[in-house]
Symmetry: none
Subunit: 190 residues, 4 copies
DNA sequence: AATGAATGAGAATTCATTCAT
DNA sequence: CATGAATGAATTCTCATTCAT
């Protein structure tokens, strides 16, 4: 693809994310996305097969950006607890500063439009975390449980916290974030 | 006049839940719900103002059922840890045996169609839990953090686990459930 | 019919007139009328066959009120010009002080829902005017033209004036009204 | 892309006019118009924003046609009385030979769907008449009254006459028309 | 007489997508 | 590649009316 095209995909993605957060998945039509992106609805079909395809590719795109930022400069050599806390902090930071992308992810994750394939591909982008879990378990730093459980206790409460904040249901508070990280650690540590 | 049929609301709710789980919120139309419920689409509008209203009332209905079952025979006098574990167990049990209702809740919670009002009303149904949190904090059994944080660590990982199971992404395992309860406790305990 | 019923018909008529002026003929449904009248939609069908029937009866009702007021104390013995001017003045006064009824009439007169029968019956209520026209023609006070033409020049410009005023397209002005009456007279006089 | 078909708008307008005259404004749905025009209902929405928009544009279109025909070859230099009579004759002729358009205008003029803006724009198309009124007043040929009053006496009785004729409530009669023109003149002349 | 419940028919409008240019 | 035009299918919701009580 040429540069020009990449810009167009970018515009489509941005427009889609904004509209979905404003009006929900079902309230966002292709023509509205096209209008916001400044092109014709039919142009979208040059780049994507259909709405589902577009949404799935957008999902993976966002997940990729997220993983890139979260694992940027990921240092494998520090202590497991440090790696855990550091990564979680970076994750929270990412979803706080990229709330549009994050909220889109949350909406789309619960939709039947998200293909199993995309979901798996998205999960694989967080592979370093699963490595950390395995390493931690082998060193008896983490509880001897399925890594998915560790994953849930690492991310889900934090995700809920940010969702509540972004939904105006609680205040943002640095202290709370520290506590969340502490609690997550308490949950997973052996 | 004909007698208002309470069963009708029940049928509408059941049809809606099933369809939403099968085809997603946006893939579920009022006429499809009506057809499944065995009545005319316009009849739904006798009982509800519009789709949004119907969905919000369905949400509250499900939340109410959930709270009734979770807090049935809720014993205030046992130890805080027992109450915590017992309630969480009952909660997991409810969402496992009422997967349709549970999955609907998860979908709808992320939709902009869910009114703030309904969300709050739904939360209030779980008041006993917040009482437990306050009591536990005063006795220094729980960490001295906002009760919402305790709530997140109590429920969100479990919710994610059941979602993964119901989505076919992991096996159900009694042992895992015990571990989740243990991890939740580790997260919240002082 | 009993008193009680008469009140109900009155309520229905009032509600209908108000709603039609606010939202137009097509924007006014039977259930909205019923709600505004404080009764059930099905009750309207106790008194009228259907919407058309109700509207036609309302039309005649308004026309009857109008004729009663316009011809109240109608004095046959004064000069023809005085009778003409006096009646026109009273007519203008009626439509100015009963703008709701008047505007309903104007809306409904152009609708295909108005039956020929009702229209004729309504016209007959203005019989004294046609008598005046005949008398005036026989005395060579009016032009020797079809009475309907006299009728048009007597009423239509005035009606348009009041419509423009009520529609906010001109100011009400007593002087204008005098001039309209003068012009009408110039048009019909021999 | 396919070429935009100007005929399509024409077809839509024609279908709308016919149906509105047959079944009234409220009895005419977009899908019926589309069917009669030989296209899909959604195609109408390619050309117009909504029903209201379409109707207002149709209104202006008809008004424009009317003004074009009425003022075709309009000669400013003849006597004021001749110009008055000539124009009125042409107007009556237009509404008699374009009864569909005329009746649509009458129905729509009384509808709350007609925007103030369209109404004004429509009136402006008859500017030459208002010039004539001003000129006539300055030469003391017309009464010294608001031009709107002159306008009412010039057109409204004639309009009513044609409506009665088209509604089958009177016969068409060239003599009557001459008389109407005479009466209009008597009404407005100084 | 009065009415809440019920509904089939139909309303306006939007949607995802295709197609010819 | 890009897109305006076009549309069948679907959507939410309203309506006039009927009916059992």
């Amino acid at each position: 693809m040429r540069l020009k095209d990449e810009n167009k995909i970018e515009s489509i993605f941005n427009a889609a994310i904004q509209l979905i957060n404003e009006h929900g998945l079902s309230g966002t039509s292709m023509s509205k996305i096209a209008k916001k992106a400044g092109l014709s609805a039919s142009t979208i079909y040059v780049y994507f097969e259909n709405k589902e395809d577009m949404l799935n590719k957008l999902y993976l795109n966002v997940k990729k950006n997220m993983s890139q930022e979260v694992f940027y400069n990921y240092d494998d050599s520090i202590s497991i607890q440090s790696a855990f806390e550091h990564t979680l902090k970076k994750f929270i930071n990412f979803i706080l500063t990229n709330k549009e992308e994050f909220l889109f992810l949350e909406q789309f994750s619960n939709s039947p439009l998200l293909h199993m394939l995309s979901r798996n591909e998205g999960t694989e982008l967080f592979e370093p975390i699963f490595s950390l879990f395995e390493k931690g378990k082998s060193q008896n730093v983490f509880k001897q449980v399925d890594s998915n459980l560790l994953h849930m206790f690492m991310f889900n409460p934090a995700i809920q916290y940010v969702k509540d904040y972004l939904g105006g249901r609680c205040e943002l508070n640095q202290d709370d974030i520290e506590k969340i990280i502490q609690m997550s650690w308490d949950a997973v540590k052996a």
